[in-house]
Each structure stands twice: as structure tokens, then as C-alpha cells.
């Protein structure tokens, strides 16, 4: 006699569910944060995260240990990029040219007392590749190596994107400030 569908559900899938809940579910805040920054709106972020969790659960059999946060964020990030392509948001983004010099500009702007809302807007205006690097590094605390794994680029590219993203943010915030004073 074979086990019924119901018994199978409890024996096998329950076990997978328990592992998934233990390893992956705790990272749903990080998942939402990344999706919200990449889609730039609440509604789409929720849709993308739901979609990403469905895929994560489906792929979970292929997860053989390692960092579950970086693993989940890779899926979320890919779901976001698919969403952006479908919504043609990516096509409108500028080409950031990863092959430019990796050195930050020597005319560095040193910002003081940053206004939180101005900072939020400045990050939102960054190209997606810069924005995701900044969010993963500053808000999610991932290492260069983990960011490289999540975004599918070498560590050197991660570093240069962070350098250039911060340079842009410093200039944007510096200019806003200068504009405000003028």
C-alpha cells in the first residue's frame, strides 16, 4: 500500500516547509527592502516579493547550505530585474559603463548633515545597478563577495559600483545643499 497524498504532504513537504521557515522566512524584511528600493513603489515590491518567495520555495531543494540571506536576495533581485524588464523600466535607465576607471573622482564632495528625505531621493535616482549595490551594502550589510554573488558581477565591479554610487550621492547631496544656500 502506498501513502496517501495527505500523508506524503505531512511526511515530505512538511519537513521542507519547516526547513524553509527556519532558514529563509527570517529574511523577508531584507527581501522586501531590496524589492522596494528596486521597484520604487510599495505595491510592486509586494508582488515581486511574493513571486520571489514562490520561486525560492520551488528552488529550495537545490539550496545546499551556505548563506540563506544572500541566496534569497539573489532570487529577489532577479525577480526585480525581470519585473523591471517587463515594465520597461530598465530600458530607460542609463548605461552605467562598468568598464570605466574604478577610481573614485578626485573632486570628492564631502557632505555634512544630510537631510533624510534628500538622501532617499538621491538613492532612488541612482541607476538600478548602483542602487542595489548601495542597498545590499549599507542597509543589508552584505560583504563584497555576497553582493557579487547576488548581482552576478565580480568583486572588483562591486567595489567600483559602490565607489561611483557614493560619489554620485555625495555630489547630488552637495549640489542640493549648495542650491539651497544660493
Amino acid at each position: 500500500m502506498v501513502l496517501t497524498e495527505r500523508e506524503r504532504f505531512f511526511l515530505v513537504d512538511q519537513n521542507k516547509l519547516a526547513r524553509f521557515e527556519f532558514l529563509v522566512m527570517p529574511h523577508r524584511k531584507a527581501a522586501y527592502n531590496l524589492a522596494r528600493w528596486l521597484t520604487r513603489n510599495d505595491h510592486d515590491a509586494e508582488d515581486v516579493v511574493q513571486e520571489a518567495f514562490m520561486r525560492a520555495f520551488r528552488f529550495f531543494d537545490g539550496f545546499h547550505g551556505g548563506d540563506s540571506k544572500a541566496w534569497l536576495l539573489t532570487i529577489v533581485r532577479n525577480s526585480c530585474h525581470t519585473w523591471m524588464q517587463q515594465n520597461r523600466k530598465l530600458a530607460l535607465e542609463e548605461n552605467i559603463g562598468d568598464y570605466e576607471s574604478t577610481a573614485p573622482s578626485p573632486e570628492a564632495v564631502v557632505i555634512e548633515n544630510v537631510d533624510r528625505e534628500a538622501l532617499r531621493r538621491a538613492i532612488e535616482e541612482l541607476p538600478a545597478e548602483f542602487r542595489e549595490a548601495i542597498v545590499l551594502r549599507e542597509l543589508e550589510g552584505l560583504s563584497y563577495k555576497e553582493i557579487g554573488a547576488v548581482t552576478g558581477v565580480p568583486v572588483g565591479t562591486v567595489m567600483s559600483r559602490l565607489a561611483r554610487a557614493r560619489g554620485r550621492l555625495a555630489r547630488a547631496l552637495g549640489e542640493r545643499k549648495a542650491g539651497g544656500l544660493a
Binding site: N15, P104, A108, R137, L139, L169, L173
Partner: protein, 251 residues
């Protein structure tokens, strides 16, 4: 360190991603280079501004419920649609009648064995990965049986059933629930069958079968050994090999 060398490392320095030696070199350079020091200061200011900003988005309360329902839905076994309760009740009644009439010779795997069943299946799936199936690859029982000497502390019965359509393919040492077990591999046409054998103090028991994740399992105890079989072969033919194994082990 020249300015040019330092420039490429400044961001990694800010992020503390440099090893100690490079970090010290950059630090030394910064003492004498105002331009580089300014870049580091600029990057650090942006970095700490974002980190201190509390700009992370909090998920809305509705998200948890959405994730939960999505996962529960995908966790349900695919394929057949879930049976409704009246049908389940009817099926259970028919099953009970069959059992009472003695028409179902095989009992189901007891709860205590379900964990072992899962481990047997895990091991079976592992063995299907390239290079994991056999440690000793031979259809000759006189090659496979002595191979286990000294590798495991019991002597499993190893018999080739090629004449019955189940040729021996080899054997390997494996582990189930922390026990060292003997695994024999048989073929049936294109299907592979794993037979796991380990010493057990349980009394002899009739074979019980189970289907897990699309694989068929068969289990019994006999002559001081626990036997488990796993395969993607259909349950009927798997039971045939089971019968051959039990008959030859009782000789």
C-alpha cells in the same frame, strides 16, 4: 604606495574589505595625500549617512500572509488535485474493508520508519548523482561480497538475480540514520534499484511498501537484518526483486 595604487583600494578600505597589510599601506598613504584622504572622507560620510538614516523599508503587515499562502499553495503535492473530504472518507472505508477482508497483504510503513524511509530515499537520490552509485562495480556476486569485508562489520548476503531479470550492478558503503549500511545496486531494464542492508535486532517482519516523492520503497526485517529497497521502478516489479531477495536470504 603611489596615489594611483591607492585610488583603486580606497573604497575597499572604507568598507573594511582590505587585508591588514593593504589596509596599513593605504593608511600610511592617507597621512601624506590630501586628495585621497578627501575621497575617503567623502565615501565615509555617504556611507555613515545611509547607515544612520533608517531608510530601510518595513514590509506591510499584509506581506506575511501573502507569502504564507503562496508557500502553502506550492507546498501541496503537484499532480493530482487534492481529494475532497467525502472522497477521502469513501477511500478510507474501502481501504478498511479490504484490510479486514485480508485482501491487502502489505501493511503500511509504521510511523517510526517514516524518518528512515526519507533517509533511504535521500540516499537513493544521492546515489543517482554521477559517480556516487557504486564503490565496487561488478555483476559478479563473488567480487561484490568480499569487497565489503573489512569495510563494514557484518557480511550482507549478495546474490545476482540476472536470470530473473534483475542483474547485480555493484555495491557501495553508505550511511542511513548514522549507521553504516551495505548498499547493493540492481538493474531492471533502465531502472536502478538500491538495496540497503544493516543489522537489526527487530523480529522478522513482512514487507511493507511506501511511495515517497514518486519513488517506491519496500522494507522488511529478516534474519537479523533490516532491508530497504528504493527505486523509480514500479511497485510490482520492485516487490518481485524483494521476493527473490527474501527467498535467497532464507536459504
Amino acid at each position: 604606495m603611489t596615489c594611483e595604487d591607492a585610488r583603486g583600494l580606497l573604497t575597499a578600505y572604507v568598507d573594511e574589505e582590505l587585508d591588514v597589510a593593504h589596509s596599513l599601506e593605504v593608511e600610511k598613504h592617507l597621512e601624506t595625500c590630501e586628495a585621497c584622504a578627501r575621497i575617503v572622507e567623502s565615501q565615509e560620510k555617504v556611507r555613515s549617512a545611509i547607515q544612520a538614516s533608517g531608510l530601510s523599508y518595513e514590509p506591510p503587515a499584509s506581506l506575511d500572509a501573502r507569502i504564507e499562502s503562496t508557500i502553502r499553495r506550492s507546498a501541496k503535492p503537484a499532480g493530482r488535485p487534492p481529494m475532497s473530504w467525502p472522497w477521502l472518507a469513501a477511500a478510507a472505508a474501502i481501504l478498511l474493508a479490504l484490510v479486514l477482508l485480508g485482501r491487502l497483504p502489505m501493511s503500511r510503513v509504521p510511523a517510526s520508519d517514516t524518518l528512515i524511509a526519507q533517509e533511504v530515499l535521500d540516499s537513493h537520490l544521492r546515489s543517482m548523482m554521477p559517480g556516487h552509485l557504486t564503490d565496487v562495480e561488478s555483476s559478479d556476486q563473488h567480487t561484490v561480497k568480499p569487497w565489503f569485508d573489512g569495510k563494514i562489520d557484518f557480511a550482507p548476503s549478495v546474490v545476482d538475480f540476472a536470470a530473473d531479470g534483475f542483474p547485480l550492478a555493484g555495491g557501495r558503503k553508505d550511511s542511513i540514520s548514522g549507521r553504516t549500511v551495505a548498499a547493493l545496486v540492481y538493474r531492471r531494464n533502465k531502472h536502478l534499484i538500491n538495496v540497503y542492508i544493516w543489522p537489526s535486532s527487530a523480529p522478522n517482519s513482512a514487507p511493507t511498501s511506501a511511495a515517497l516523492q514518486g519513488y517506491n520503497l519496500l522494507h522488511w526485517t529478516q534474519g537479523g537484518f533490516a532491508w530497504w529497497m528504493s527505486s523509480d521502478l514500479n511497485a510490482e516489479e520492485l516487490a518481485q526483486l524483494g521476493t527473490h531477495l527474501r527467498e535467497s536470504a532464507s536459504k
